[in-house]
Amino acid sequence: MADDRTAAYAAALFEVAQGEQDLARVEDELFTVANRVRTNDALRDALTDQSLPVDLRQGIVEDLLGGRASPTTTNLVSMIVGAGRAKDLPAIIEGFLERSAGSRSETLAEVTSAVPLDADQQQRLAEALSKRVGHKVSLKVTVDPSIQGGLIAQVGDTVIDGSVRSRLEQLKTQLQESR
């Protein structure tokens, strides 16, 4: 039931956003919002706190995105928070991004990097991932210094982890298991 509702919200977001001229910008902004909500506990708690009035929660969205993001992005996020679905915001946005990529015959590829990727790197990475999965991908990059270096790419259910953090974890496991 929750998946159906999430898919319905994602479809609604896509219906609204595809009328926008700069769909790519909305996608990027929503992707950034999803990451912030996923990684920032205080923000997630505030937006999902049912004891707070809806106006106040939507005010938080306005304060955070107003002037920084496009009005479409701000309104879409505010609409989801106002509907009391803030806890599903990352999943709804992911569904929206998949639907949006699918409309271009692409597959969503979520990439995490310790440092921002330049345009050349993003292009080469998109090509490499497209070659790997067999069709074109829509790249969404998240910068997360905690992975310490390298990249993590997720396309559908496939995760390719080339991060330094992952390698250190593997090394730690090997050291603990080697007796």
Binding site: S113, A114, V115, L117, Q121, R124, L125, E127, A128, L129, K131, R132, Q148, G149, G150, L151, A153, I160, G162, V164, L168, L171, K172, L175, Q176, R179
Partner: protein, 181 residues
Amino acid sequence: MQNLFLLASEVAPGESLTSKNPIIPEIGELSYSLIAFVVLIILFKKFGFNAVQKAMAARTERIRKDLDQAESAKGEAEGILSEYKSQLADAKAESNRIIDEARQQAEKVKADVLESTNKEVADLKAKATQDIETARTAALASLQTSVASIAIELAEKVVEKNLDRDTNKRLIDSFIAKVGS
């Protein structure tokens, strides 16, 4: 009869019994005495001898019975004594047997206790050895975990210090090349 001998001894050789002697009775008196004596003997024989003989026989019989009883009592006493001796010997044998049995029992108990104690000691030793081995393994695992954590912390610091932008770019390029290959 005795009196006759006494009378005879009083008569000197060659001297007649009829001679006057105040001590020696007269023939007539002697005859009367002799007759009276014979009568007395006859009467005694007729009336008293059997009773005396019977009393003597009864006395002899009683004495014989007493002797027989004494003999029988003696035999009985000897039998009882023999029985007591036998019982004493049996008691001694029984006591020796009980002592031997008790000694054997004590030896067995001692052996059992010794065996039990040895087993207990062996069990304790085995458990202690196992505990030591478990503790050693746990300590080793803990040490290994600590060493691994320290090594990883050091590695993270080294990586953090040395992973500059160029190195990270090379890592990213390497990842892209690997994914696309």
